[in-house]
């Protein structure tokens, strides 16, 4: 645990509003939060110390903070932490590891997709969610579902990588997102 003083109550001068439990990348986590409206993004980044989920806009407009909540792609900068109670949450850190990459990550590596890299975790999470629901997306499916913003302009490689990830998923029958 990193940043344990953040958000956590000081019993002397504060009243604890709530205690929230959820599964994060397979681990049970419980956080004490004063304000249940606090965006889940800041709890993940600053309380639980996982920095792979990015802040881009704070208004669910760019998708840099996309994570999986019960398998759905969610922009967690605008998701109140109080709604996370009992949910299964996956961030980029839980998607795969260098030794055991998720097919989406494998496809991203094969196609050398990232440039600056800042928006990429959000895109990979959105892609993982898409493939779970639609194992063989067409370009149209991609256009309608992958609506994050990449300023470096890696879109053409992403499109190739998404198709490649679909191919990898079908080959090894691996469940697209860690549950």
């Amino acid at each position: 645990m990193v940043g344990d003083s953040l958000f956590l109550c000081k019993p002397v001068d504060r009243i604890c509003a709530m205690e929230i439990s959820f599964t994060l990348n397979g681990n049970q986590e419980t956080v004490e939060i004063e304000d249940g409206q606090t965006p889940l993004l800041w709890v993940i980044r600053d309380v639980l110390g996982l920095k792979g989920t990015k802040f881009g806009c704070g208004k669910a407009a760019c998708g840099a903070c996309t994570i999986l909540i019960d398998g759905d792609a969610v922009r967690c900068c605008s998701y109140a932490v109080q709604f996370a109670e009992g949910k299964e949450i996956t961030t980029i850190e839980g998607l795969g590891t260098p030794d055991n990459p998720h097919p989406v990550q494998q496809a991203w590596i094969e196609n050398v997709v990232p440039q600056c890299g800042y928006c990429q975790p959000g895109f990979m999470m959105a892609t993982a969610a898409l493939l779970e629901k639609n194992p063989a997306p067409t370009n149209d499916d991609i256009n309608h579902n992958i609506i994050n913003i990449c300023r470096c302009g890696t879109y053409c490689r992403m499109r190739k990588a998404i198709h490649r990830a679909a191919e990898l998923c079908s080959q090894d029958n691996r469940v697209p997102a860690e549950q």
């Binding site: 600056c116 800042y118 879109y155």
Partner: protein, 733 residues
């Protein structure tokens, strides 16, 4: 440090020598730095970097490394795991520079790519970049000095190994970080561990590029793994122990000045540690970022707003004929506006935002007379100097720790947030993290300036241009930038940033000129990827295309007819010819699709695009872009292609989607979405990149492919619809 400084002063005469003396510079080696077995290799660079920068940019357009050098600097470490750590003066913002530099090192140092670790150099111990990471100059600028440093380090290790192994140096070979010969071998790390005082030989001859095993190959980016697995590598991810979070109140109105603030309501908000009120700004420091943000909303600031600026005010200021006039190119005589044969068209481009996804910010710690600033910055030296000045510290007492950048594009060439983070750390006695909200990013960007262009041309009886003129008005790009000292503007006269791509490239047109009208707007406009190139090329290449149609000529042939075979004109010809060939360019509408062509040259790298478009649901759809770039020697074909793809998509976004506007004195939009940008659905189905090698060294890559994209799309749309697009962002009539 005292000793090294004295040595630096003694070296004045050589420091003022021209840059060609790179190969004759000497190294200073200091032992005992860092951990055991560490090799420290430093060098002096020349003084007066700004002057060299100006000369490099304006005179030769030749990339060079503008290091700031009156201190010993640390370039390489050989560590115990037999890896070489390279402390890069240039930062990695997605442009692939770290990978390109590693390839150059590997080929002269005889180590494998995965034996090289590239780190952005901290100012405390590293090479301090006196200018910036930008201008597409990193790989080209370090091409000569970095290979020389690598080759010298290899020889130093070999020389030491010779005495350690008792084998004559002539019998030793180096490969994969191992010196071997006479049946014996040692790793570089084993050699380095036994050396206390290094001897520095004269710089060895560099190998011919044909012998290189890494340069020229599509080596995968060395930062793939951290970027695919979500490692905390960005400025936004930085933390320090006991760190607090801050927010600063920013005005919404353009030109607003801070008068006073009522902070009473904010003081009692949860988590608030301190309200920091300075002469011209007020910030709040709290335990968490959401707390700082909530408290900031309770601060009531009174702003002095001298004028409520409108969109019309800006357009009126930015008109050819207003502001400071400077002829930036002149050949033959001027066209007379009264001449009946003159063809004239006007073009405009809007105010644009950088919109990089990582907001600007910094983590600063000020304690015991020392400051540390962790930051995504393109100007490490300037950031350090500004923080030092604001705190009243000497620059040696400020350590800037650069991180990976979540996009640069020119947005991180000014870092006032570093100063504010440092001041708030000083005021609270704890490390402070401070970054912009997205609204602040949009309203307080250093924008891409809007432009206005008047093109004039005249055809002769042979259907060729006898005169071509580009008159253009732009806000600041280089002028008022910290990168360019004020006196330089008065020497050069023109804004050299707004000028990029503004000159006429068609050397066979007898009378041609380019005239700049410069205006400083009431909000900051500055460097944006490729500077004036996108808008200037849009105007010139759209106009030339229209003239070709009037002349009844094939647009590619028409362009080629106005280019000689010499120098840059010949290189532009070569990229046009290759683009025509590779794309199968034809000047006709077929199956609802049409092609458009355009070309430009930027910083010595010519580029031509052929695009194929259709109209779908009354929107322009770009299907394919064939890109031909001559960036000289291609260090990494895959990553140069990635930069071409990035420029094309950012150019599509910048010319078909993006626009900032002024309403009631405030800049809008303040969020993505309303600030319309290209998404994956707007990306071409295919981007096909080809190279022409018109020079034997690497030339700029990261910006030149931005040039022709808007014009090429407009030219294709003209074929398809009969209508000429003259204003960005593009709209169908």
């Amino acid at each position: 440090m005292t000793e090294t400084k004295n040595k630096a002063e003694n070296r004045e005469p050589e420091e003022q020598a021209p840059k060609k003396k790179w190969s004759r510079r000497k190294f200073l080696v200091r032992g005992g730095l860092g951990t055991m077995g560490v090799l420290a290799l430093g060098t002096f660079l020349f003084r007066n970097p700004i002057r060299r920068a100006m000369l490099g940019m304006v005179d030769t357009m030749e990339p060079a490394y503008f290091g700031q050098g009156t201190e010993v600097t640390l370039w390489f470490e050989v560590i115990e795991t037999n890896k070489v750590v390279f402390h890069s003066p240039k930062v990695e913002m997605g442009q692939g520079t770290f990978t390109g530099l590693a390839q150059m090192i590997a080929d002269e140092l005889d180590v494998s790519i995965d034996q090289i670790e590239v780190k952005a150099a901290e100012t405390d111990t590293g090479v301090i970049d006196g200018l910036s990471t930008g201008g597409s100059l990193s790989v080209g600028g370090l091409w000569q000095p970095l290979r020389e440093l690598s080759a010298t380090l290899r020889e130093m290790i070999k020389n030491e190994a010779a005495s350690q192994l008792g084998v004559p140096v002539g019998e030793l070979n180096t490969a994969d970080g191992v010196v071997s010969g006479g049946g014996k071998s040692k790793t570089y790390a084993e050699v380095a561990a036994e050396v206390s005082q290094w001897e520095v030989p004269s710089t060895p001859e560099l190998r011919p590029t044909s012998q290189y095993k890494h340069v020229g190959k599509p080596v995968p980016r060395i930062d793939l793994q951290p970027k695919v697995f979500g490692d905390p590598i960005f400025g936004m991810d930085a933390e320090m122990p006991d760190m607090l979070h801050a927010a600063v109140v920013r005005p919404e109105h353009v030109g607003a000045k801070f008068k006073s603030a009522d902070t009473s309501a904010a003081e009692s908000m949860p988590g608030v540690v301190k309200i920091v009120q300075m002469e011209d700004w007020v910030g709040v420091v709290a335990e968490t970022f959401p707390q700082a943000l909530a408290a900031k909303r309770k601060i009531k600031v009174e702003w002095d707003v001298p004028k409520t600026w409108s969109e019309d005010d800006i357009r009126d200021m930015l008109t050819v004929g207003k502001g400071n006039e400077m002829i930036t190119q002149m050949q033959g005589s001027a066209l007379s506006p009264d001449d009946d044969g003159i063809i004239e068209m006007e073009f405009t481009s809007p105010l644009g935002a950088h919109a990089q996804i990582e907001p600007n910010g910094a983590v600063a710690s000020v304690k015991d007379g020392k400051a540390t600033v962790i930051i995504s910055t393109q100007v490490i030296g300037i950031t350090r100097n500004q923080v030092a000045e604001a705190l009243g510290f000497s620059v040696e007492d400020v350590n800037v720790v650069p991180t990976y950048l979540g996009g640069g594009f020119g947005r991180r060439l000014s870092t006032p947030h570093a100063i504010r983070a440092a001041v708030m750390s000083r005021e609270t006695g704890k490390p402070v993290k401070y970054f912009f909200t997205r609204k602040e990013e949009f309203q307080h960007d250093t924008f891409r300036p809007p432009t206005h262009h008047v093109m004039r041309g005249k055809l002769n009886n042979d259907g060729l241009l006898e005169g071509l003129e580009h008159h253009y008005a732009s806000g600041d790009v280089a002028i008022n930038s910290l990168l360019i000292p004020g006196f330089a503007n008065s020497i050069i006269g023109a804004d050299i940033g707004a000028m990029r791509g503004g000159n006429i490239q068609y050397d066979k047109v007898q009378n041609h000129r380019s005239v700049q009208w410069h205006t400083t707007l009431p909000f900051a406009t500055s460097w944006w990827r490729s500077l004036g190139l996108l808008a200037n090329t849009f105007a010139i290449e759209s106009f030339v295309d229209e003239i070709a149609i009037k002349a009844g000529a094939d647009p590619a042939e028409f362009r080629l007819a106005h280019l000689s075979d010499d120098g840059n004109a010949g290189r532009i010809k070569a990229v046009i010819n290759k683009a025509v060939k590779e794309s199968g360019y034809v000047d006709e509408v077929k199956d609802g699709r049409a092609m458009g062509i355009a070309a430009s040259i930027d910083s010595g790298s010519p580029c031509a695009h052929v695009v194929e478009v259709s109209i779908e649901d009354n929107r322009i759809k770009v299907h394919k872009v064939t890109c031909v770039l001559d960036c000289g020697l291609v260090v990494n074909p895959d990553q140069v292609a990635a930069q071409c793809e990035g420029c094309i998509i950012m150019g599509i976004s910048g010319s078909m989607h993006e626009k900032m506007t002024l309403r009631d004195g405030k800049l809008y939009p303040t969020i993505y979405g309303p600030y319309d940008m290209a998404l994956i659905r707007h990306a071409p189905d295919e981007i096909d990149v080809h190279f022409v090698q018109g020079a034997d060294k690497p030339l700029p890559v990261g910006e030149p492919p931005m040039g022709p994209i808007a014009a090429a799309i407009g030219n294709a749309v003209r074929r398809l619809t009969g209508n000429r697009i003259t204003d960005l962002p593009m709209k169908l009539a």
